[in-house]
Symmetry: C3
Subunit: 105 residues, 3 copies
């Protein structure tokens, strides 16, 4: 795609109190940066196995976005998956393309 | 992709006053959650058939993000397309991957 | 995908002071609209060739999102790449799908 390099984009939405734990995982996985979006609210996503809402509309949420090479992304995805198995939050993973791959190594 | 499950991610940007109608469509389509991002502004996207701006820079906008299985997404896309045919807003649809697909069923 | 049209989605994260330069490039490239998300912070993405952080956690950032046809996107990607070669910021490019392609022409 237009002389761009494929990377993996992770978007993680968690209660604001849990954002620092996610940021630590992002840094530990070797990501060179992340973006935090505040002013986020949400409802759901409830799991049928728990019957409980993960979020309710009064929670203050943080959306964290990070982009990293596929190899590092796999490790981070596993770490976040593990963390979210015992706390609230959702993770969305997608391909993205960047113009300066050396910034993400 | 790394033991993840493919889902469809919808991102809808509408004037804040129309966000509740979109949220109702999301819930009716069986999505188990959504995220709202406030603090959003924008301009355009104007249509050549109308010659009018959909948004102007003074509008307060809301970005709604929801993720759901392809089958439910198709229904929701049609419903939002219909709603947006008579009101302002844009919808972006993309593939995404999640680690806990049971949360989105 | 469900009667949708493929477009290119650019997400650009820059210090707030540089957002207007990016908006001018977006408009010059023929994009018919964009969305700005404020309330954004971040750290990194540092480049190994510079050894310097692009952002630090005290910067106020703006995330700009625009969607346009592939042909126009290529031109805009090149222009933003050029601008970011001498200033701070990251650009993420991904495919997305829209229901009303005439709005983005």
């Amino acid at each position: 795609m237009n002389n761009l390099t494929q990377m993996t984009r992770l978007e993680v939405i968690v209660p604001a109190r849990d954002a620092s734990a996610i940021r630590e995982l992002i840094t530990s996985a070797g990501a060179t940066g992340y973006t935090s979006v505040s002013g986020v609210s949400g409802i759901g996503h409830h799991g049928q196995h728990s019957g409980a809402l993960l979020f309710n509309e009064y929670d203050t949420l943080t959306m964290l976005i990070t982009v990293l090479p596929q190899g590092k992304a796999d490790e981070l995805i596993d770490a976040i998956r593990e963390l979210l198995s015992t706390s609230s939050g959702v993770m969305f993973v997608a391909d993205t393309y960047v113009s300066r791959p050396e910034y993400f190594q």
